[in-house]
């Protein structure tokens, strides 16, 4: 595979603008076994993530887009070691995580946190806001109680809530406010890296902008690095510095946000881009659309060769046989397609 080439390329030639690589993912795979029968023997596997390689630079936001089931959330979870990787490496601040266990891993965890999609399910309804935010602080020995309490009040202010909210319960808050609590918990331990897994998908349109503005503000103030997982291409364009597109467990394109949106190279990125409805009736009526045929194949039985060839408008016979290489077509712009 091209993982070595990728490492070399980013190490030697490119390292664009001397940006520090915070997270380096190489050839990462996560396969979930499918068990059947009374003795639960393995009959196959779901290839949720199937060999992806990329870097995230410090202070950057990498947008990760794709449709449901393409493996974008699994990618986030495997990076944070919430799921064990099947294969491949995740290097965070120069340390390899997938082989780490127990206490060593526990020492790394405060530096990488997660904001979850559903603010209703990710907050314990029986805990007050203060105890929800206090939990990671207590677990990782942040300091004595008074100090923690002062920091919790500070955090609440930082995410746009009031310290008076500290003793309330999650059900007393709206979806947008609950997401703010989730964000406060994620940044409580001063992490370097936050995985935002569809943090705005469950919110109303007018509330989405509030939360996105908050995430941007916090990134500036705390020098955070984000992996922003979303299916909302417009929001990713707004927020991300670099964008990666996933399809069926594989990355098909990765590049700087403007390049990827103005001149997408992979046929899937092009189709995805053209499928997003624009809130402008005039440009909508002149727009050329690429309508993909058929449905997304099952990741338990992905097509041979290029996994997109069954729906690709420009597929050639060779696409069904040969898996396209993950190659850099211009500085920091990677594509997996024979014809890009």
């Amino acid at each position: 595979m091209s993982a070595d080439a990728l490492t070399q390329a980013t190490d030697a030639a490119a390292s664009p603008g001397d940006r520090e690589v915070l997270l380096r993912v190489r050839d990462l795979k996560k396969h979930f076994p499918i068990m059947k029968g009374i003795i639960r023997h393995r009959v196959g596997e779901v290839r949720a993530v199937d060999g992806i390689s990329f870097d995230i630079y410090r202070g950057d936001t990498l947008g990760l887009v794709g449709e449901s089931g393409c493996g974008k959330s699994t990618t986030g979870r495997v990076i944070l070691q919430l799921e064990a990787a099947t294969e491949g490496t995740v290097e965070f601040q120069g340390r390899e995580l997938t082989s780490m266990r127990g206490n060593a891993l526990r020492k790394v965890r405060p530096h990488m946190q997660m904001v979850f999609q559903d603010p209703h399910a990710s907050l314990n309804p029986r805990m007050t806001v203060a105890s929800i935010i206090d939990e990671p602080l207590f677990e990782h020995n942040f300091g004595p109680k008074a100090e923690r309490h002062a920091w919790i009040e500070e955090l609440l202010r930082l995410v746009g809530l009031s310290p008076a909210h500290a003793n309330r319960y999650p059900h007393e808050f709206s979806g947008g406010q609950r997401q703010r609590i989730g964000i406060a918990r994620a940044i409580a331990l001063n992490p370097d890296f936050v995985v935002c897994d569809e943090p705005i998908a469950a919110l109303d349109v007018s509330i989405q902008a509030q939360v996105v503005n908050l995430l941007e503000k916090l990134q500036d103030e705390l020098n955070l690095t984000y992996l922003f997982i979303s299916h909302d291409l417009s929001m990713v364009r707004h927020l991300a510095d670099r964008v990666a597109v996933m399809y069926l467990g594989k990355m098909v394109e990765l590049g700087p946000v403007d390049e990827l949106y103005d001149d997408p190279q992979h046929p899937y990125s092009q189709a995805l881009h053209s499928a997003v409805p624009l809130p402008n009736p005039v440009s909508e009526s002149f727009r050329e659309r690429i309508i993909l045929q058929g449905d997304i194949p099952s990741p338990a039985n992905p097509p041979s060769g290029c996994s997109f060839h069954t729906r690709c408008p420009v597929a050639q016979p060779e696409c069904a046989q040969r898996t396209p290489e993950w190659r850099e077509i211009s500085p920091d712009h990677w594509v997996a397609c024979h014809f890009a």
């Binding site: 449709e67 449901s68 709206s174 947008g176 406010q177 109303d204 349109v205 007018s206 509330i207 989405q208 902008a209 509030q210 996105v212 503005n213 299916h231 291409l233 417009s234 929001m235 364009r237 707004h238 927020l239 403007d258 949106y261 189709a271 995805l272 881009h273 053209s274 499928a275 997003v276 409805p277 624009l278 809130p279 402008n280 009736p281 005039v282 440009s283 909508e284 009526s285 727009r287 659309r289 309508i291 993909l292 449905d295 997304i296």
Partner: protein, 355 residues
């Protein structure tokens, strides 16, 4: 009996996007008010909503969750649970009769027969233990007195029409054997089955992925050209209606706050909420603009609206907005048919009406 003509036999109605609309109205709703009597008090879900739907028209209804957009449309066919729901007042004229005062049997004939409904989640609105064919032929047998064989034949035709490959085989399939996009196509086919005059689609693409959504929207576009059915399309996505609708209604707090032909609404949004909504959506075709968020939360609706329900979040609000609820009134050139429910004239930076 020639049960159903093939689609070519439908006379295409003249209405095209934004063009000359046929002004004859098929559905006229006035002053619809729906409340829910819950344990926590009365929820004022729909507060005096009036609108009309014209023949062959595509009407987009935009609003956030809790804005009353779905409850409004479901009230028309009494599809809300009653109790706790209660249609307190109003009128919905359809084919010379008031839908809100129809008897059970008459209402049954309208539901699915004359007004088709497409629901948001195709997995929960299809019966998992019946085949697609069984479910698709049911309305034909019920409303059109079709024989079983005719119904199956027409059902296959319909599946073909909505772009399901291998339609005859799919008739024998169960819902779980189809993908989300396919199930939504089946829902569309069911809504079309009895050639209704009106189809109400409640967020039909919200649960779908974006490339599948594009497929469904393309199918709907084609069907519209072929069939000319009037459609009410409920959504929270300003992008989806921009490319589909002739006219758009914006709802907030159980009321219509703005209503205009699609081009005019996006070019000249005149209600602060519509403006805020358009500004808070990042644009794929424009970059670098900062997102302007609307501060605050949507109203709780547990109290009857006194002033304008948007006033607490509105940057233009002044004293009158808090005490007086504005009515939906026409602004500008009557040709534009642009209606706004607001005391403030944003374009001119002053009060809209003399006091």
């Amino acid at each position: 009996m020639k049960l159903l003509p093939s689609c070519d036999a439908y006379a295409p109605l003249g209405s095209t996007l934004g063009g000359n609309l046929i002004s004859e109205s098929v559905l006229e709703v006035s002053d619809l008010t729906t409340r829910f009597n819950t344990q926590d008090g009365v929820v004022h879900a729909v507060n005096g909503v009036s609108f009309e739907l014209r023949a062959g028209e595509f009407l987009g209804v935009v609003g956030e969750s809790g804005s009353g957009k779905s409850v409004t449309m479901m009230s028309l066919l009494k599809l809300i649970p009653m109790p706790p729901g209660d249609i307190v007042g109003g009128e919905a004229m359809f084919e010379g009769a008031d839908l809100l005062h129809l008897g059970r049997e008459a209402l049954r004939k309208v539901r699915g027969g004359k007004i088709g409904f497409i629901f948001q989640d195709p997995m929960t609105s299809l019966n998992p233990v019946l085949t697609i064919g069984k479910q698709l032929s049911e309305p034909l047998i019920l409303h059109r007195n079709a024989s079983k064989r005719e119904a199956i034949e027409r059902g296959t035709e319909l599946l073909d029409l909505v772009g399901i490959p291998d339609a005859a085989q799919r008739m024998k399939a169960y819902p779980h054997e189809l993908s989300g996009g396919m199930r939504q196509r089946v829902m569309i086919a069911m809504a079309l089955a009895c050639e209704p005059q009106v189809i109400i689609a409640d967020e039909p693409t919200t649960a779908l992925d974006v490339t599948i959504q594009a497929q469904i929207i393309e199918t709907v576009r084609e069907l519209r050209e072929k069939l000319g059915t009037a459609v009410i399309w409920i959504t929270h996505d300003l992008g989806v209606v921009a490319g589909l609708a002739d006219r758009v209604i914006v709802m907030y707090g159980g009321e219509i706050v703005e209503q205009a032909p699609v081009n005019h609404l996006y070019a000249h949004p005149s209600h602060p909420y519509t403006q805020g909504l358009l500004e808070s959506v990042p644009r794929l075709d424009q970059k670098g603009l900062e997102l302007t968020s609307i501060p605050g939360q949507p109203p709780s609706l547990t109290a009857e609206p006194v002033g304008c329900s948007f006033a607490p979040r509105c940057k233009y609000a002044f004293d009158r907005c808090l005490t007086d609820n504005p009515t939906l009134t026409e602004i500008g050139d009557p040709v534009n048919e642009h209606l706004v429910k607001c005391w403030w004239n944003i374009a001119e930076g002053k009060e809209r009406y003399e006091r």
